[in-house]
């Protein structure tokens, strides 16, 4: 699309939406004092002058409490609490998950994706969210792989091959959105069957194959904007072959639920109930879209069937892995061994990848700088995780494994300290934030008010240390370590 068109076409609506988004967080529970004056389309201001002659108004100052008596602070408090409750949903009992995942993301590139109900349009919104998703996915699933497939004009294209490097995918996504006249501009109809078949063939080849197949979870995530699919053949056959291959499909709909998607999801996930399937979500707004997408980041729990399988055989596979040493050949002159102009060539990129010339060249260049040496056969590979091309040993960084530990050994939740007159702690253990004082004579207050009050202290059940809400969220979402317990 030409940028000029876009600008003209979207400018009035975007102005309108600005005034919307401006007060969005506030309007949910609170009436603004003078909504008319804030309407951008209404050029007359509150005092009769033009809007640009009007005095500058700080909209957040004229916010008025609504009838229910909720203040802005309490709303914010609620938001924080709801965030907190999201963490509470996290299971604290460890259970087996499919840690090594292979996921193919199918994105819709049909003409309906030019719809502007998401800003700037569905397609670019989806791509920017997808970029975040890719980063997050590899962050949480370091030994997993991802591929991206585009449905466009009745066929499906591989946008990026199944690969373990986030940067590779980000580059490919950038190519999709980058140019003005790119060949991936949304066009035509989507074809679910083509996309599923292509994804299925992509999923058949992944790096865990030769080690153990049951450990891999194969997944497809479809982001589907259209309400129809135009297929060359019988999609039901495709569905049953997906079921046979044990591939799980998740769908995120951008407009409404579609019966065929529901069927795909139900059959591949072996769920019978038609509605409220957690694997099929339709977005309500942008943040819900993001939420649905980010839900796919967390590794899937092992299904009941697989559990039975494991219990039946009473055994789990044991993987042999190598933890290679990082080598920087050109810099190791001090430690001896390599001379400075000695070119190192990795064992993993031979002529097989030269079909895409520029890519292979880039990889070769970086491989001459930093490599990893297989502990078993001392051959060099340039990226991890991988399977050693010489000896077949699975090579992995210990950090890759360790990144998944918090899924396996989740942290215990903190519990809120009940409101009391005084507390033993006056500072947050983690960040030294001063807690508010205890509130005396709480009996005078009504019960309702008691509920809105909080002690602002969250106590670890194990080490009995008190933390503030920020530390609580940080500890459970980012750090996954209780500072108190670590120091005991």
């Amino acid at each position: 699309m030409e940028s000029d068109d876009e600008y003209k076409g979207s400018s009035p609506s975007s102005r309108g939406s600005f005034s919307d988004s401006d007060g969005e967080g506030v309007r949910r529970g609170i009436k603004t004092a003078n909504p008319a004056s804030r309407n951008a389309n209404d050029k007359k201001g509150a005092n009769g002058a033009y809007a640009w002659e009007d005095e500058y108004q700080r909209t957040w100052d004229i916010v008025k409490d609504d009838d229910s008596g909720q203040t802005l602070e309490s709303l914010i408090q609620n938001m924080i609490e709801s965030r907190k409750k999201k963490i509470m949903k996290n299971p604290t009992a460890p259970y087996q998950r499919g840690i090594i995942r292979t996921l193919v993301v199918v994105i819709d590139g049909s003409s309906i994706m030019l719809e502007k109900d998401l800003r700037p349009n569905r397609f670019s919104m989806m791509l920017s969210l997808l970029q975040e998703f890719v980063v997050e996915f590899f962050d949480q699933n370091p030994i997993s792989q991802l591929g991206i497939v585009l449905m466009r004009n009745g066929i499906s294209d591989v946008v990026s091959d199944v690969n373990g490097s986030p940067q590779f995918h980000l580059d490919k996504i950038r190519q999709l959105r980058g140019k003005q006249h790119n060949r991936f501009e949304p066009k035509g109809d989507p074809s679910l069957q083509n996309a599923l078949e292509l994804s299925r063939s992509l999923l058949r080849y992944n790096f865990g194959n030769n080690i153990n197949d049951t450990k891999n979870s194969k997944e497809i995530l479809i982001i589907f904007g259209a309400l129809f699919t135009s297929d060359p053949g019988d999609i039901h056959k495709t569905i049953s072959s997906l079921v046979k291959d044990n591939i799980k499909v998740k769908v995120i709909g951008l407009s409404a639920k579609v019966a065929i998607c529901q069927e795909i999801v139900n059959k591949t996930n072996h769920t019978s109930n038609n509605f409220n399937n957690p694997n099929y979500g339709v977005i309500m707004n942008e943040s819900h879209f993001k939420e649905l997408l980010m839900d796919c980041v967390v590794p899937l729990p092992i299904t009941v069937e697989q559990q039975k399988e494991i219990e039946a055989s009473k055994s789990v596979p044991l993987l042999k892995m190598g933890f290679p040493t990082k080598v920087q050949p050109t810099l190791s002159s001090s430690s001896g061994g390599h001379s400075l102009d000695f070119i190192q060539i990795c064992a993993c990129h031979s002529g097989s990848r030269t079909e895409n010339g520029s890519d292979a060249a880039a990889i070769q260049q970086s491989s001459s700088v930093i490599g990893y040496r297989c502990p078993q056969c001392s051959s060099k590979v340039c990226s991890l995780p991988t399977v050693c091309p010489i000896c077949g040993l699975m090579l992995i960084l210990s950090t890759h494994l360790a990144r998944s530990y918090h899924h396996l050994v989740p942290l215990v939740d903190y519990e809120e300290v009940p409101v009391k007159g005084s507390y033993p702690s006056s500072f947050c253990y983690g960040c030294l934030l001063q807690f508010p004082e205890g509130i005396e004579n709480i009996h005078k207050d009504s019960k309702e008010k008691l509920e809105t009050m909080s002690s602002s202290r969250y106590r670890c059940k194990k080490c009995k240390n008190d933390f503030c809400i920020d530390c609580d969220v940080f500890v459970h979402e980012t750090l996954h370590n209780c500072p108190g317990c670590e120091n005991q």
Partner: protein
Amino acid sequence: MDEISDNTFIEVHGSDVSNDDPSLLTIVLEVSPEGWFNIKDQTSIMDVVKSLLVFLNGHLSLNNSNQVAFVLSSPAGSKFLYPDTSKTYEEIPLNVTSEETVENSNKSEELSFVTKGMYRQFRVVDETVLSGLSQTMSDITHAQDDKVTGSSRLSGALSLALSYTNRMMKLDQSISTTTASAISSAANISNKESSTAGASSGTNANSYGTSRMKSRILVVTPNDNEDIKYISLMKAIFGAQKMKVAIDIAKLGRKDSSYLQQAADATNGVYLHIEKPLGLIQVLCTAYFIEPSIRPLMILPTNSNVNYKASCFITGKSVEIGYVCSVCLCIMSEIPDRMSCPTCNSHFDEKLIAKLKRKPVVKKRKLDNGSSESSTPAPEA
């Protein structure tokens, strides 16, 4: 000059633009009696702390809004020496009270180099750290033996440092939103909303990217002991990685520590094994003084070989080739005799173990893999 213009450095070029943003420096000092005893011929805690205080003062003097923190990690547990919550720093600057505190707490030579005439911010930091340190030292000497000779509490100290860093980053963000102009603050608020929404569904790297406070952690440890809480240390490293906090390591003592090497490597920090700690202040000022924002532009001391060894869960030794339980990802250096995972108790597939144990089969397996690899992608076109 070829070493200097090596393309390793060019690769990371231009990722950040350096500016005058404030930065937080957290020092984690490990005081394990054993480690310091081992290097008693070379240096003492007092010498090292003196150098560190000079280093902290240097950091404070770089920018008016720079912040420092000091965490002490002792076998009995970690704690903040600075900031100290039991003191209010507004009361210190009066000369009389500070002299009193100096005289009252202890008259030892420890505090002798903190003079009255020092710049106030320096003195506040120095006095607080030193008095806290001597307090901890006396606690350690009077403590029971089993409390002193524990394993390293470094992961706990790092967790403390990170949660403090997290607060400082958030705090700075809120300040910038109130002082910024109206439009940008409105934008910031909407940004914040979206970022909080994002953070609610899993961790969000972006929410840290917007903050202006730069921070880094410097770990000083003489500990040669490889007995470390591996999992929690790793978690702390990932936390730092996500927050883009560099962990610098100054390793005293005799050996390299492979886990700390990994920590520095994963967070773009500097790792140096300082074998001769006499000129520590010089090393600190040259290698560790560079702010993370301008690190891409500088040639940093790199260690060529980072050993990404993992730690065996059974023996605690580091492993190069190991076995990994597919349920709990527990790393083992050898196949346990019980045929079951030591942490999650799931039984291993006996056929697979037999396969792994047979020595010559390595060759045969390779053949098997080759054939299966070539055969899998072929069917179902």
